[in-house]
């Protein structure tokens, strides 16, 4: 046996002493599972995302990256005691709103989304979210998120914003 053969034999025996057959299988399994999940991980395409921040979640209503929030500018009601479609307790939804057209990656469809403000308490102040895709200045009010859409409420104080699917957007 030459010196090279002795070296490989010794290193193989050391590896065998440190490693059980079960651990090899477990490691292999983890690698395979990770590879299978890799295409499903969320991909950061948000221009406002920054290094060190949690990955955006297109299916999490408490994340600014949630798909329905594509044209929002305000505080997410889902972080303020409400949900993406329900105003927090003690507030009132605005009867008027602006709209956006958002793409749902889960079914590949574009939806018309109404952004209604919830009114009657001062600003929630949690989960500030500005995306403004398709948003237009106030000369096109139906697409404008600068206006206070609580303006016509009995109590016009802005608290947060919900996003409500109106239907599939026509091409």
């Amino acid at each position: 046996m030459g010196p090279l053969d002795r070296l490989f034999e010794e290193s193989s025996r050391q590896l065998a002493r440190r490693t059980s057959r079960r651990s090899v299988l477990a490691t292999l399994g983890r690698l395979l599972t990770g590879a299978a999940l890799l295409p499903l991980l969320p991909i950061d395409r948000g221009s406002r995302a920054h290094a060190g921040e949690p990955a955006p979640k297109a299916d999490n209503p408490e994340s600014c990256e949630y798909w329905k929030y594509c044209a929002i500018d305000g505080y997410l009601c889902s972080c303020c005691g409400g949900t993406s479609t329900a105003c927090p307790p003690g507030t009132a939804p605005s009867p008027i709103s602006w709209v956006g057209t958002c793409h749902n990656p889960a079914d590949g469809r574009d939806y018309m989304v109404s952004y209604n403000d919830c009114c009657g308490k001062t600003t929630c102040g949690t989960c500030d979210c500005t995306r403004s895709e398709g948003e237009r200045p106030m000369y096109r009010p139906s697409r404008n998120n600068d206006l206070n859409w609580c303006m016509a409420n009995a109590d016009a104080n802005y608290h947060c914003t919900v996003s409500v699917i109106l239907g599939v957007a026509e091409k």
Binding site: D128, Y139, L147, N148
Partner: protein, 385 residues
């Protein structure tokens, strides 16, 4: 533990050994008297900074800041979802705002408040119908006529119109319907233009009592679908410049009976178009004497028009050439969300960021003279008399 008697003995010994020490103790401070600071004479480098207080919007305010001595001079309160402007002579700040009877709730009162800029005291008000446009700051939410005898305030209910006020007698003179067009761009003595969804300008002429004399619609100058303009117009020598989302500059001459729309020019090359774009709450400033336009620019796509600039790009307003790019991150500045420049011969450029920094910059070479690190909460608009 050392007894108090022993401490007393040590003290007496020190007094004997060091006789000059106790005798040299400074006298006690004199009693003080409370006073109110008076503003020094105003400067071309004082800037009025509107803080939208986005996390608590019933508490907006305007800070007065000295760009030479780097200090705050005072504050004007601005209430809820407010707008502000300065009188043509710079002596008065006007704030259009809303109050609720119980602080955050209760009966709504819309009001225009007048503040004396020499004392920062509120000197008067005009109560409005509850129609005031509650929107983000622009120069055209609230504006004086050229002779300062009328004051215009934008209404959105969401039906659009504007109120005509008498700032001298502190009265509401009337309301002008604007057929869906928004904002009040003052020109001439008593002309008001509003921006329409069709890309046109509606111009209404008034008499001295605020009654409508006539109206006319311009040709369209932008396409709200393909490339809308920001409503934060930038004052020029003969009117205002409006930037588009994709970086077109539309200069409009408001000196005549009707606005004259100039040929647009571009902030970006063909290769940069759609990649680099303007974005901010206050999206540009022009030094008329220097002939320089300053624009916060960033890399970004559709929907990023409210993202601030990572750089300030500088243009020659005569040749339309870009003459400089000033990256901001290298100075520790985050995205530039508002810019303003003084118009004097030794000018100052102010740049506010999305993390509430306020930078004082030399507009001739981009040298950053000073940075305020915590300037309020959301400084989104700046005006200089």
């Amino acid at each position: 533990m050392v007894s108090s008697a022993r401490w007393l003995a040590v003290w007496r010994l020190a007094a004997v050994l060091l006789p000059g020490t106790l005798a040299a103790a400074p006298p006690p401070l004199p009693a003080e008297h409370i006073s109110v600071q008076q503003l020094p004479p105003s400067s071309h480098h004082w800037v009025y900074v509107f803080d939208d207080a986005f996390a608590n919007e019933i508490d907006m305010r305007v800070h007065l800041y000295d760009g030479d001595h780097y200090r705050r001079l005072g504050q004007i309160d601005a209430g809820y979802y407010s707008s502000f402007n300065l009188s043509p002579d710079g002596a008065t700040t006007v704030v259009a705002t809303t109050y609720f009877a119980r602080g955050s709730r209760g009966t709504r009162t819309d009001v225009v408040e007048f503040t004396d800029n020499h004392t920062l005291a509120v000197t008067g008000e005009i109560v409005l119908p509850p129609k005031r446009a509650q929107t983000l700051p622009t120069p055209f939410n609230l504006a004086y006529s050229g002779d300062a005898r009328l004051l215009y305030v934008s209404y959105v209910t969401p039906a659009a119109s504007f109120g005509v006020l008498d700032p001298v007698k502190k009265t509401v003179l009337g309301e002008i319907d604007t057929a869906g067009c928004v904002l009040v761009i003052p020109s001439g003595t008593y002309r008001v233009s509003s921006i329409c969804e069709s890309g046109r300008l509606l111009t209404v002429s008034l008499d001295a009592a605020g009654k409508e004399l006539g109206r006319a619609m311009s040709e369209p100058f932008f396409d709200a679908d393909r490339d809308p303009v920001f409503v934060q117009g930038i004052p020029t020598a003969r009117g205002y410049a409006f930037l588009s989302f994709l970086g077109q500059v539309h200069e409009i001459d408001f000196t005549g009976e009707q606005p004259r729309i100039g040929a647009p020019w571009s902030l970006v090359t063909a290769a940069e178009r759609g990649v680099w774009r303007p974005g901010a709450q206050q999206v540009g400033a022009i030094h008329i004497g220097l002939g320089r336009l300053y624009v916060p620019m960033h890399r970004g796509g559709e929907g990023t028009h409210k993202d601030g600039g990572t750089e300030i790009w500088v243009y020659d307003t005569a040749t339309h050439r870009r003459v400089a790019r000033w990256p901001m991150a290298t100075h520790g500045l985050t995205r530039i969300i508002a810019v303003q420049v003084s118009q004097d011969d030794a000018p100052v450029l102010f740049a506010a960021t999305d993390s509430a920094q306020l930078a004082v910059i030399d507009p001739r070479d981009g040298h950053i003279r000073h940075i305020e690190k915590h300037f309020g909460q959301t400084p989104w608009q700046m005006l200089i008399p």
